[in-house]
């Protein structure tokens, strides 16, 4: 096969419109007659936190000493109504990922890693496992349209409850789990026949709209004697309105998941073409909270494409109280590691490209229910890797915060940021670098 370089020398030119991935997609559709289902989040280029830069301190601002002066990282979530809000040591949480989508050991590792650094992890569509509860100091229990495995005993065991309306990878879509992953245990937890392709509802079965949600949230509070924070999670679309309605409905915490947020199985067309980038969603959410007078009172968790401490710091500076990671956490556990290169190739993929989480064939033993593959994954070692990664994210965010003269990462603010592209300036509502121009502002 010719290399790209050899093709260029021959004058062969790839179409920007019909690039190789597009051509392969058309060929695949013509062969199979069904849409492509895959994992991961949006892969297209999007304006993102990379397009923002911090203005470090110099003459007009004092920086903090990097290794001497304290820069706090803790965050309290859900202190508006709950008797027992969550007090986390770092502002990076683990996003909802189901047992079913992930193996039992992988879920356990998420709990271990998060607990080691004092942050929370989250269940997913499919219920709470004892492994996960046992290893998670702070566990958020998702309340989803399917209500798979939902029961009041687990609700009472949770540290917080997250009512899920949608996720960034598929706002408006329900869960999906293909038959390869409906093992006897997964089927039992979800009350489904083994091996079927699960069709999950996209709407909650017993409420519709914000007025009903108010009553539903009150039910969850009454059920748990007003002990637990109630989160509301939305996929980023009409974020300004959704956040306002979530606050009106009584949410203690709002989770906004941008389109770069991952999924275990969704139609490719859904992942790439529905929703808005995380960067565009954060200022809308903050504006909604500020207009209601509840910014920092109703906490905002942002997810979708958080990879580095710089992303964490930028999300916080734009007004988030914490972030959540999913895809990055899986990579920290060992997903897409080059050590499995040969096996990825056998699956028609490659390390760094593998996104067939729906197939249950993950060589790393993370997104699978195959016992042999799952046994490859060591939850203790995986948990340590995740904890290391979470520590790095935190230290990186502290490094930036100190450089900006902040004694707590929460003190970062939009004033510390500029954008390097006009698009990012318009979405993030910070000035284009070197100017005082925020596109769209007066």
């Amino acid at each position: 096969m010719l290399t790209d370089d050899a093709r260029a020398r021959l004058g062969l030119r790839e179409s920007a419109t019909f690039d190789r991935a597009t051509i392969a997609g058309i060929q695949r559709a013509a062969e199979t007659g069904i849409y492509d289902i895959r994992g991961w989040g949006a892969k297209r280029p999007l304006p993102h936190f990379d397009d923002l830069l911090f203005l470090g301190a110099s003459m007009s601002r004092y920086p903090l000493e990097g290794y001497r002066e304290r820069c706090g990282t803790d965050v309290v979530l859900g202190d508006r109504h709950a008797k027992h809000p969550l007090h986390l040591d770092i502002p990076v949480t683990i996003a909802g990922m189901s047992f079913g989508a992930l193996s039992g050991p992988a879920k356990e590792a998420l709990g271990r890693g998060a607990s080691e650094v004092g942050t929370s992890t989250t269940t997913g569509d499919g219920g709470m496992t004892p492994e996960e509860r046992g290893q998670s100091k702070h566990l958020v229990y998702q309340y989803l349209p399917s209500r798979y495995g939902m029961n009041p005993d687990d609700l009472r065991k949770a540290d917080a409850i997250e009512v899920v309306l949608g996720q960034g990878a598929k706002p408006g879509g329900g869960g999906m789990l293909l038959g390869q992953k409906i093992s006897p245990r997964v089927a039992g937890m979800r009350t489904l026949p083994e091996g079927i392709d699960q069709r999950s509802a996209c709407r909650h079965p017993d409420w519709t709209g914000p007025d009903d949600l108010t009553i539903k949230i009150n039910e969850l509070r009454e059920l748990t004697d007003w002990e637990k924070p109630i989160y509301v999670k939305v996929g980023a679309t009409r974020t300004y309105y959704d956040v306002k309605l979530a606050v009106h409905a009584g949410a203690d915490v709002v989770v906004v998941d941008g389109m770069q947020g991952g999924t275990a199985a969704t139609q490719d067309v859904f992942i790439e073409h529905v929703g808005i980038p995380t960067l565009a969603a954060v200022p809308q959410a903050v504006q909604a909270l500020a207009e209601l007078g509840v910014h920092r009172k109703v906490q905002l968790i942002v997810s979708g494409g958080i990879r580095t401490g710089a992303d964490v710091a930028k999300a916080l500076a734009l007004g988030a109280d914490a972030v959540a990671i999913g895809t990055a956490a899986l990579i920290a556990l060992g997903d897409n590691h080059p050590r499995y290169e040969a096996e990825y190739e056998k699956l028609g993929s490659a390390a760094g490209f593998f996104d067939d989480f729906q197939d249950g064939t993950d060589p790393a033993g993370i997104s699978t229910q195959n016992p042999e593959l799952a046994a490859r994954f060591d939850p203790v070692a995986g948990g340590h890797r995740l904890a290391n990664y979470l520590r790095v994210l935190t230290m990186e965010a502290q490094t930036i915060a100190r450089a900006c003269g902040k004694a707590h990462v929460q003190h970062l603010e939009p004033e510390d940021l500029v954008a390097v592209t006009i698009e990012a300036a318009a979405m993030a509502r910070v000035p284009l670098a070197g100017t005082d121009w925020i596109p769209g502002s007066r």
Binding site: S146, P193, D197, R199, P205, D206, I215, E219, L223, T224
Partner: protein, 231 residues
């Protein structure tokens, strides 16, 4: 002679719902309870996990007896949306009619609605038994996963749409069946099962021969291009 059971009465004109629910969550709870003057309140008697008897004297709003465990709850009136939603065990008995999503996602126990139930009765039910004295609305037993839904009257459109393994027993007529829902033969075990459910709900004089069983054709259990028109 039986010991006289003391009945504890709460009055929602004077007692706050939060206090009443908290009292019903007390560890080791037993005995009989009455909630007077519910006046359509939402979230009445949610989250009980005790073998108690509770009578609600009047109409209730959304989610009455939600997530019930063990308790025998009688609602002497009509119930709003999502009565006995996600019930795990015990009994919830509605003397009047129920609004939409009655028994939604419930995993166990028995829900009896003496009157009619509105749309989405038994939606995503996961093991509960539901007996409705009258009719049910459209999309009832939507994505019903397990359990039995007995309807003594008629149904609205799209009965049992995308049903999984739940069994539906219907005495009257379905306005239409939903995707993948089909009539199935009544074998002896179904007559026996239906007879038990009717008896438990106080309708033991019904002839099980008047009922038709509906369930999943299981054609949609795997995503396939040939089914595209069914979704």
């Amino acid at each position: 002679m039986d010991a006289v059971t003391e009945v504890t009465t709460f009055d929602l004109r004077t007692d706050s719902l939060r206090d009443v629910n908290a009292a019903l969550h007390a560890p080791g709870l037993e005995g009989e309870f009455v909630i007077a003057h519910p006046a359509g309140a939402h979230n009445v008697a949610v989250g009980i996990d005790a073998p108690v008897k509770l009578t609600v004297e009047g109409h209730v709003g959304y989610y009455a007896a939600g997530m019930n465990q063990q308790a025998e709850v009688t609602i002497d009136g009509n119930a709003g949306t999502g009565v006995a939603e996600n019930m795990m065990s015990g009994t919830v008995w509605v003397k009047g009619n129920a609004s939409q999503s009655a028994g939604a996602t419930a995993h166990g126990g028995l829900l009896v609605i003496e009157g009619n139930a509105a749309a989405r009765c038994g939606i995503s039910m996961k093991g509960v038994d539901i007996v409705v004295g009258g009719d049910v609305g459209h999309m009832s037993a939507f994505m019903a996963q397990a359990g039995r839904l007995v309807i003594r009257g008629d149904t609205g459109d799209a009965l049992g749409d995308s049903v999984y393994e739940a069994r539906i027993y219907l005495r009257g007529t379905a306005a239409s069946l939903g995707a993948d829902c089909v009539a199935k033969p009544m074998r002896p075990e179904h007559h026996e099962e239906l007879g038990r459910l009717l008896k438990a709900a106080g309708f033991e004089h019904d002839d099980t021969g008047d009922y038709t069983r509906y369930g999943s054709a299981r054609n949609l259990y795997h995503f396939h291009v040939d089914h595209a028109g069914s979704y």
